[in-house]
């Protein structure tokens, strides 16, 4: 028997592995109990809402529940290019009559109208006929309904009803990318002048990218100073870096509004030094500039802190070694110091980028029309249009985007290389 397969026993003859598990069981239970409250909290406040969001974003059961008989009958509708058979008309009539009795028919009309324009009119017409009891249930319903309006004779309207049959739909996700299901079920682009979401996605990525870049170029020297200055100065500088952290986000954004507005302090200063004319003050707020400036300032600490914690661990003798071996200060920095700070750069950039991509309050306040991000659009649908399923879909798309970025980062740099402190 080789030594690898040989089972090691304790003195009592119990296999060592079993004995070890038994001994560690108590500790494992203790450890689990300690984290259990947090786990529960996370499940309730994080995992469950995300699941709910997902369900909401794909949920399309309204029509399915309203027209059960219709969809059952549609199983027998074989040639989809021709009008459906009598059973489908009967099923639809019976479903609709029930809805009319329960005052639910209006909702159906609106929902179908979203699927295909013109439904509202023809369902209302049907409703009036039912109300006046003008429909003879013993005769062919297909003929009677077809006679009501020419659209009932158009097969596209029946195809539209059929498209609403599945209880789940990806249409909200398509809408988030300015696309929709065309009449024949294929995916089509929205007209060019109505493609607002794609612009917003691109703008969000662009702003997040540049904010990350600005944060990096401003944060790197600060972090380096923090890590190398003598204690008494670095503490003071650290407080300056952290001070924004201790101020409310709203207050900081509001102070940027005071600074950046056309009659604000920065513009006053530009006029004073003669950089711009008094009657030609540049707009620095309610556009991208405002969003860039305010977000960079607000997210800067998230770049500085991981960089600082990494730089703190780099021994100053490494730079000295680089110089004493003949490297110019720049070579010593670029070949020795900089590569060692990459874990901090990765952590800082990832942190700032992910925070920036979902930023909401600051762009809402200083962004104006050209400086708002996708999160503002999500909030708009949550609060104004009340289209929660669309808001959920976009929220999940944002989440997926973040996960994809994380995945790419992991492929390029490796998550093990991230150092947050």
């Amino acid at each position: 028997m080789s030594s690898e397969t040989k089972q090691i026993l304790t003195t009592d003859g119990i296999p060592l592995e079993v004995s070890l598990k038994k001994a560690e069981k108590k500790n494992k239970i203790k450890a689990f109990l300690l984290v259990a409250p947090l786990l529960l909290f996370l499940v309730i406040t994080y995992i469950f809402p995300i699941g709910d969001m997902f369900m909401r974003s794909v949920d399309d059961r309204m029509v399915t529940n309203m027209l059960p008989k219709t969809f059952k009958a549609m199983d027998k509708w074989e040639n989809l290019d021709e009008l459906p058979p009598e059973e489908v008309y009967r099923g639809f009539y019976e479903d609709y009559k029930l809805l009319a009795e329960n005052q639910q028919h209006g909702k159906l009309g609106q929902r179908l109208n979203k699927e295909k324009n013109g439904f509202n009119t023809i369902t209302k017409k049907l409703f009036r006929q039912i109300k006046r009891k003008k429909i003879d249930e013993s005769a062919s319903l297909k003929e009677q309904i077809n006679k009501l309006h020419k659209r009932w004779r158009d097969v596209e309207y029946w195809q539209a009803i059929k498209r609403t049959a599945p209880p789940y739909t990806a249409s909200k996700y398509l809408k988030g990318m300015d696309m929709y299901f065309a009449a024949d079920g294929s995916i089509a682009q929205v007209d060019e002048d109505r493609r607002i979401h794609r612009i917003l996605w691109l703008r969000t990525l662009e702003i997040a990218f540049f904010v990350t870049l600005f944060c990096f170029f401003m944060g790197y020297p600060i972090a380096h100073l923090l890590a190398t200055l003598p204690m008494k100065y670095s503490n003071l500088l650290m407080i300056c870096v952290l001070l924004p952290f201790w101020t409310s986000l709203l207050v900081r954004t509001a102070s940027w509004m005071i600074l950046l507005q056309q009659q604000g302090i920065v513009n006053d200063f530009f006029v004073m030094i003669g950089l711009v004319a008094d009657d030609n003050r540049p707009e620095m707020m309610y556009n991208k500039v405002g969003t860039y400036v305010a977000m960079t300032q607000i997210l800067l600490p998230f770049m500085v802190l991981p960089l600082y914690s990494v730089m703190k661990t780099i021994s100053p003798s490494l730079m000295r070694a680089g110089k004493s071996l003949g490297g110019t200060p720049f070579v010593a920095f670029w070949k020795v110091y900089f590569p060692l700070t990459i874990p901090g750069i990765g952590a800082g950039c990832l942190l700032v980028f992910i925070l920036a991509i979902g930023y909401y309050i600051t762009p809402a306040l200083v962004g104006g029309a050209s400086g708002t991000l996708i999160s503002n659009q999500i909030a708009f649908h949550m609060k104004t249009t009340l289209d929660w399923s669309f808001a959920s879909a976009m929220g999940l798309m944002l989440l997926t985007g973040v996960l994809v970025i994380y995945w790419i980062y992991n492929k390029l740099v490796g998550v093990d290389n991230i150092k947050l402190g």
Binding site: S315, S317, L318, R320, A321, G322, K323, S324, L325, G326, G327, T328, P329, V331, A332, K335, V336, P339, L340
Partner: protein, 361 residues
Amino acid sequence: MSKNPEFVKFDKVDKSYDGKVLVVKDLQLDIAEGEFITMLGPSGSGKTTCLMMLAGFETPTHGEILLDGNIISNIPPHKRGIGMVFQNYALFPHMTVYENLAFPLRVRKVEKDEIDKKVDKALSMVSLNGFETRMPAQLSGGQQQRVAVARALVFDPAVVLMDEPLGALDKNLRESMQYEIKHIHESIGVTVVYVTHDQSEALTMSNRIAVFNDGKVQQLSNPAELYEKPVNSFVAEFIGENNTFNGEIVDIDKDKCKVKLANSEILANPVSVKSKGEKTTVSLRPERALINPSEKMDNMFSGKIEEVIYHGDHTRVRLNLLGSSEFILKVPNSTSNLELKVSQDINIGWNSTDARALDPK
């Protein structure tokens, strides 16, 4: 080629960090070409500061440093061509052993073939061939140390500085590395300036030792002279073990003086005392005092054993002698040794030439 006796020259160098305290005071030091010189001293004595000034990381507040006759105070570190081994090795953790060694050659734009040859030669010098692709973290402390030494030598610098390079190693490894560095120095003849606070390290490795204290060189001489003939009580105290007596000169001639202690008188060798009435500290190495000496010695006293400590190769005996209970004797471990027991009375003798009357402590 004649060796330049002033290859490195510190000329009246002062250094102060805060404008209040001088860390290095009026340093005058010449280092010959090919010499292995050690700066030895307690922490805060200014030895590392001197090294940093030579490397170019600190600038002298006053005075000049010359390398091969040229003033280097205004030359930045990367143009000085001085190799340096740091206390914590300072290997670049993101580079392999090969890349670490190639770094000084690459920045000098040496050809690829030449780099390979030089790196190979440097690695064989520290017997680390075959370790080229390892990362520093995969090496043991001793191997990292050797890589650091090889890296400081690979670009053939005129001077190599070593700042307590063996401080982080354990005792056995430290000793074997001492010999290894010494042999490397002997075989390539580079000038080495070595900083340490470990006196045995300094004694084993150096041609000359500069003992630093309080920003000044207390004594600059070869190891034997430093140990046998310390010029002041700091050096005597710092290098090796030492029995001291504080007293006053009562009689003095050319090579002998009489020192009056609290309740007796001893004969000593006047090193830094000149006249009667001067206060002095007499220093005597523990191994120079003998038990029951066979020959006639001019200092003979009797003392009581207070403590016996067995050290393997020797035994340390603490005696109550001449009113002090801190007198230490080192007795070599040989079969002819007498039984030493606590509270036994024994006779001790030493020659007055070994008892050096130095400046008072």
